[in-house]
Symmetry: C2
Subunit: 212 residues, 2 copies
DNA sequence: CCTCCATGTGACTGGTCAGTCATATGATTA
DNA sequence: TAATCATATGACTGACCAGTCACATGGAGG
């Protein structure tokens, strides 16, 4: 997934610092608001630049939005990539580590997290598909690791891998949705999060006595 | 949970038919749009009534919205209530039945489903809390039934009931989010949904050989 | 018939928005 | 200096919005 050249050349001719500032302020706007409710006028006001300038950098609101979403995903991906290869011997440690890293990423980059959450909640399914198509979502790592865990006997063969991914992903998103709003209280929820992870684990583990 | 008298008396003096029509059109608007993006102007146009009339019925946009959300929840609750008591001997049958009924309800009332989804995705957490406070969410039934299932040995005592509820609820919402958009293809997804339910089940069941 | 009152009305206010475009600025090149 | 070109500007357009209010309507009671 590369952030392709959506913006106009003019944007890339900008001094690095200004370019970053534009991206940052736009992110904040799209974090606080859905695509539809975000306001270009607010963005340019905050940046103290003319509205017209923004239209030198980007074709329109949607073009700016795509750039913002892709930038966020690029950074998140870079952040999480290493986790998949750190715990390759224990699948449950891996899952736990991945949840925790996602959580941690969201903690450290609440603006990014909100942008992504808004992206997924967007009313405009068509645009979402359009952006995802360009991005090429990949969860290959999960299936790779799941297969290896099954081979190791750490996960029951009884499972449908797609269903496992689904449960894993649904719980991850719900955890983030529910507890990330309340800041600075992670440790308070720590125990509960562990219980949830444990529940998921019990769903994946083979049982000694029966079945398998 | 009762739908309290949010609207003005004028609204309740309306002939039943017109009152229903107003509610229905408003629901459709709040199904297609988040609270912020919904438009009173569009609603009154569709109803062929004057804007001012709407302000005879409701204090403002928010007042109308509260009424719509509460109406939807009231109906959904009535629909789902019986399920809890039909399968009281088998917890997994119960869960499956409840998922299926929720699903079915969403299928039969896609507008209601969208209203609720938008409600949960709303940017305005404060208003959501305000509405929920008036509504008094209850999942007492789940915990009752879970306790009984544990007593019967059908669910492992190893579980934290709150965590079980969380996983159950997260998966339910995600299932609805993901598959309800694509209409008329329920049966195609049937198998996948079963796999997901099975995964959850494995997470709750006690194992014969080890632990418990 | 007239009065009264609940109800209905829609033009209007003041606000927000995305997007446009004629014009200005300022740097580089001839 | 003059010409050229990339970039910056912000007033303006047309559209939409929530909410208001002076006035219209129409039925019930005197």
């Amino acid at each position: 997934m590369e952030v392709v050249l959506l913006p106009q050349q003019t944007f890339f001719n900008l001094p690095e610092e200004k370019r970053q500032k534009v991206l940052q302020v736009a992110m904040e706007e799209f974090a606080r608001n859905t695509y539809e409710n975000a306001s270009l006028s607010r963005i340019v006001n905050k940046l103290n630049i003319a509205k017209g300038s923004m239209y030198q950098y980007f074709l329109d609101k949607k073009d700016l939005y795509k750039y913002v979403v892709q930038s966020v995903y690029k950074q998140k991906r870079q952040y999480l990539q290493p986790v998949w290869y750190k715990h390759s011997q224990d699948f449950y440690q891996l899952l736990s580590a991945y949840y925790r890293s996602s959580w941690q990423y969201a903690q450290e980059h609440p603006v990014h997290h909100r942008v992504i959450a808004n992206f997924w909640n967007s009313r405009d399914a068509e645009m979402r598909q359009e952006i995802l198509r360009e991005k090429k979502m990949r969860n290959i790592e999960f299936f790779d690791q799941l297969e290896q865990a099954m081979a190791r006997g750490q996960v029951t063969r009884e499972l449908n891998p797609e269903a496992a991914w689904f449960v894993y992903h649904a719980v991850g998103r719900a955890l983030a949705d529910n507890f990330l709003e309340v800041p600075a209280e992670v440790s308070q929820h720590e125990e509960f999060i562990n219980s949830v992870l444990h529940t998921v684990r019990l769903g994946l583990e083979p049982r000694k006595g029966n079945i398998q």
